[in-house]
Structure formats: C-alpha cells, structure tokens
C-alpha cells in the first residue's frame, strides 16, 4: 500500500490545538500538502447575544472571547462604546487601563511562551511561563476579584482605583518577570534543537503577510512595523515611549523572539504608566441605563494576538443594533495553510503554536 496522500485529522480533541480547532491535513508521508482548519466547535453565537443585551451587560461577555486576554477585549469594546457615545475617560482612568492592558499582554505572552515551548517538546518552559503568569493573575485577583474572566475595564473607565499597596505589588511582580524570562531564554534561545525546530519554519514574507491580513506579533516578525499603539494611538498610549520589536525572516523563531521582546517592552510601559499615574477621577459619569443615539463606529486596539476591533451600530435604545467583532486570530488562521505547505507534520504543531491563536476569539 503506497503511503500516498492520506487525510489526517488533527483535532478537535488534540493536545496542541489550543482549544477546539480541527485541522484536516492532507499528508504525503509526513510532508504536509494541504491544511484545512475547521472551526466552529466553540461558536456560542456571541454576536446574536450581544444584540439582545444592554451595553453594560455585553462587557462581561467580551471576557470570554480571547480568554487569555480578557482585559484587552474589555478595553476594545469599552473604547468603541465610548467613541460612539462620546464619553470622555479621565486621564487617570486611561493610565490605569494602560497598566491593566499591558499586564494582560504580559500574561497572554507568558501563557503563549509556555504553550509553544510545550508543543515543541520543552515541557518545563510551560510551567515557568505559567508560574510567571500566576503572579499577574494574583494582581488581577487583588484588583477586581477575578483571575481569568476579569471584567476589570468598564464603559467610561475602570471600576476601582489603584491604591498604593496594589501599585507596589505590581512593581514587585514586574521585577520578578525578567528573572524568569532569563531562564526561559537560557533554555531556548541558543538551544540547537529549538533552533532546528523553529528557524526557517512557517515562513511568510512581509508582502504575503499584509495580503493575508496578518496582524500583531506574527506580522511584526516578518519585519512590518505596524503596531496599532503607535500608528493609531488610543487611551493615551501616545504618552508612553516604547519601541516595537521587529523580526526579519518571518519564521517561527522570529515570532518567538518578537514576543519575548514585547514582554520586556510591556514591562517598560507598565512601569512608565505607574510612574506618571495622574491623580483625579478614574471613572467618567456614565448613566446607569446607557442609551446611545443612532450611529455607527469602528474602533480597534492592539490586542496581544493582533488588531482586535469592534463595529457597533446603535439605534437609540440601551441595546446595540449590531456588534461585529474583528478577531485577529480568525484572520491570522487563514495564513496557516500558506505557512504549513511543504513543511513536515511535526512542524504544523510548531507553526500553529507560533501563531498564538485562541479558539474562543475565533469562534465567537
């Protein structure tokens, strides 16, 4: 029996598909010919639900989209509603939002580092990544009371203030992360097995990446300098100074390096935001029943996975007429086939890990 093109099913219950993603692979003796992602196993009909809930009731639902970066989803939705309703968030509120969003980016990248390393076999890095992430979740637990579905950013600002104890705790957590990062980098960066599994794998050039609509660290790994926090600043990111790490080849190794560098940048941003934390109000006056005049708006942020955007159309009542979410992982997943073609079967796992996709956000 010639071991010619066989169709292999990877998922939806597969150890390394980060949720419920099914990959229909056409494989010729371990060389991947065709990859067809099948999604929808985690489809909860969010957009239909949103059309029947008030604006304040939608915010906790956005936690469940990218469940590794709940606060970023909250921030994106809150910014869109504020732009639609013309609510002005006070400066302190914006700074606390930056602190929370960047802490969430740290947690998401650390979880990603763990998953990706574990997919390629370095099982201990999973625990080191998660250990670093636990401290950040403890900060969220102390700030608002939840670790994963945080619901810590509301329409109009943030629900609670950062008191002195919490600020010093955040600084303590931030000072602990570089040490763990050094361990992870020592284990992976120069390791010959790691480099063999990642250098030159899953290549995508800058032009192809832009054409596929790739965004976020995966795009920046191909050398495209597009970070929404710089190009279209929101929530006073323009007052923060940080640089945007870029890759060159656009392979799995570059995506790894870019995200590790972004962790350091996020630490820098949070420290700056805490230093320059202005006094004053942290929540705008928002009516309890928020009715928004008919209108339509499109707002995007730089979520850990890529450009996350919301389109909201209001109809004057307290419930939106239509809410559409632009999910970065949904668009990034389209380029998976392009990256996997020609590589080996075990690379598909590595490439999928380097894309950092989350199924909650893809399936909505």
């Amino acid at each position: 029996m010639a071991f010619k093109d066989i169709e292999l099913n990877m998922g939806p219950q597969h150890p390394s598909t980060h949720g419920v993603l099914r990959l229909k692979l056409t494989v010729d003796n371990e060389v991947v010919l065709k990859v067809e992602p099948v999604i929808g196993y985690l489809h909860r009909g969010m957009e239909k639900l949103w059309e029947n809930l008030t604006y304040t009731q939608i915010v906790p639902l956005t936690d469940r989209l990218d469940y590794l970066a709940a606060l970023s989803n909250n921030l994106a939705f809150a910014l869109t509603v504020e732009k639609l309703a013309g609510i002005e968030v006070p400066k302190r509120g914006r700074y606390i939002r930056i602190v929370l969003a960047e802490l969430q980016r740290l947690a998401s990248h650390l979880a990603w580092a763990g998953f990706m390393a574990n997919d390629i076999g370095a099982m201990s890095v999973l625990l080191y990544g998660f250990e670093a992430r636990e401290d950040i979740l403890d900060v969220f637990e102390e700030y608002i009371g939840a670790r994963l579905t945080v619901h810590g950013i509301r329409i109009g600002g943030v629900p609670r203030d950062l008191d002195e104890a919490l600020v010093s705790r955040i600084r303590g957590v931030l000072s602990g992360i570089p040490r763990r990062l050094k361990d992870i980098r020592a284990l992976l960066d120069e390791n010959r097995i790691w480099k063999q599994r990642t250098v030159g794998i899953g290549l995508i050039s800058a032009a192809e990446a832009l054409d596929f609509g790739l965004t976020g660290p995966a795009l920046r790994a191909s050398g495209v300098n597009w970070d929404l926090r710089k190009s279209i600043p929101y929530s006073s990111y323009d007052e923060m100074d940080f640089d945007v790490p870029l890759g060159s080849r656009g392979d799995v190794y570059d995506r790894y390096l870019v995200r590790m560098a972004e962790i350091e940048q996020s630490i820098r941003i949070v420290n700056q935001a805490l230093d320059k934390l202005p006094p004053g109000e942290f929540m705008a006056k928002v009516p309890r029943v928020l009715k928004i005049a008919p209108g339509q708006v499109f707002q995007t942020i730089e979520a850990p996975k890529g450009v996350l955007g919301f389109t909201i159309k209001s109809n004057g009542t307290d419930k939106p007429e239509r809410v559409k979410m632009k999910s970065p992982s949904f668009i990034n997943l389209q380029s998976l086939e392009h990256m996997c073609r020609g590589n080996l079967f075990s690379d598909v796992v590595g490439i999928l890990g380097s894309m950092d996709i989350v199924l909650g956000e893809i399936d909505k």
């Binding site: 809930l53 008030t54 304040t56 009731q57 939608i58 915010v59 906790p60 639902l61 201990s124 080191y128 250990e131 636990e134 403890d138 637990e141 102390e142 700030y143 608002i144 009371g145 939840a146 579905t149 619901h151 629900p159 609670r160 361990d183 020592a186 284990l187 120069e190 390791n191 010959r192 309890r288």
Partner: protein, 158 residues
Amino acid sequence: MSKLKALARKVFLLDILQGLAVTLRLYFSKKSTVPYPEKVKLPAERFRGIARLYRDEKGEPLCIACKLCQHVCGTKCFDIEGERDAASKRMKPVKFDWKLERCSFCSLCVEVCPTRAIRFSREFRMAAVDKGSLLFHLPEMYLNGEDLQNFLCAGCRE
C-alpha cells in the same frame, strides 16, 4: 571570531550543558504549588466567590427586594418576590432564587445593589453533584461562603 565560538559551542555541546545547568538550578528552587486540601491559599479580599446575602447588625435582612439585581443580570440568574413587612413598613424578600449555574460572576448585581445586600464571599469551592443543588433559595443565600472561613481557621491552616 564568532564563527569559531559558534563551532566551539556546537562541538562541546555548550548550549546543551547551559540548558541542563538552568534546570539543575531550578530543581532546587522554591516550589510554587501548594498541597491543596491541607494548605489552602486564601483568595484575595475582593475575590468574587459565591454570592451571599447579608444582614445588618440587628439581624434584619438588608435586601429590600427592589429587583435591581434581577434586571441588571445579563444571564438572568435571579428570581425574586418581595412583600412589605407589616411591622417595619420595609420591603423584604419572600422568595430569592439564585441560579449559580447561570452566574458569570460579572459583579454587576453587587455594584448596582443600593443597600449592599448581595456581595461576593471568598468561597471558591462551588462544585455540586446535581443541578438541583446549584439553585440557591432564600435561607441558603444567607449561609453561602460561611464555611470557608471556619474551614480555614479550624485547623489554623492559613
């Protein structure tokens, strides 16, 4: 020079040894996991555990059955009936059903309650064997989250 260094690294397996050195050091590092049932990590003070109804100092229920929580809840967990208490002319809940299985712990009800009657306790153990026990009626709502405190304090575990 770097080419020679790279060759030396490759031949003498330096990156392998460096990796092993890191794991050896971490082998002796402080462990971050806690043996659960014996030692319980008390959640933070604002932790959103199981919801609980509170009474004021005199033991009167704080809840005035205004059903604000019922309206604000996105997943419709509450089912409240209230009536006016003849003696104290104050509204008090007669029926207060709360479905834990539907609750997403978004804390909108806690923030909207005018008399701070409903708040989250720090009890995080909410597993149940059957669906029935996930539906909390009025008397139980006052006891939720009671036993975590004495569970912890009983053995001075924390």
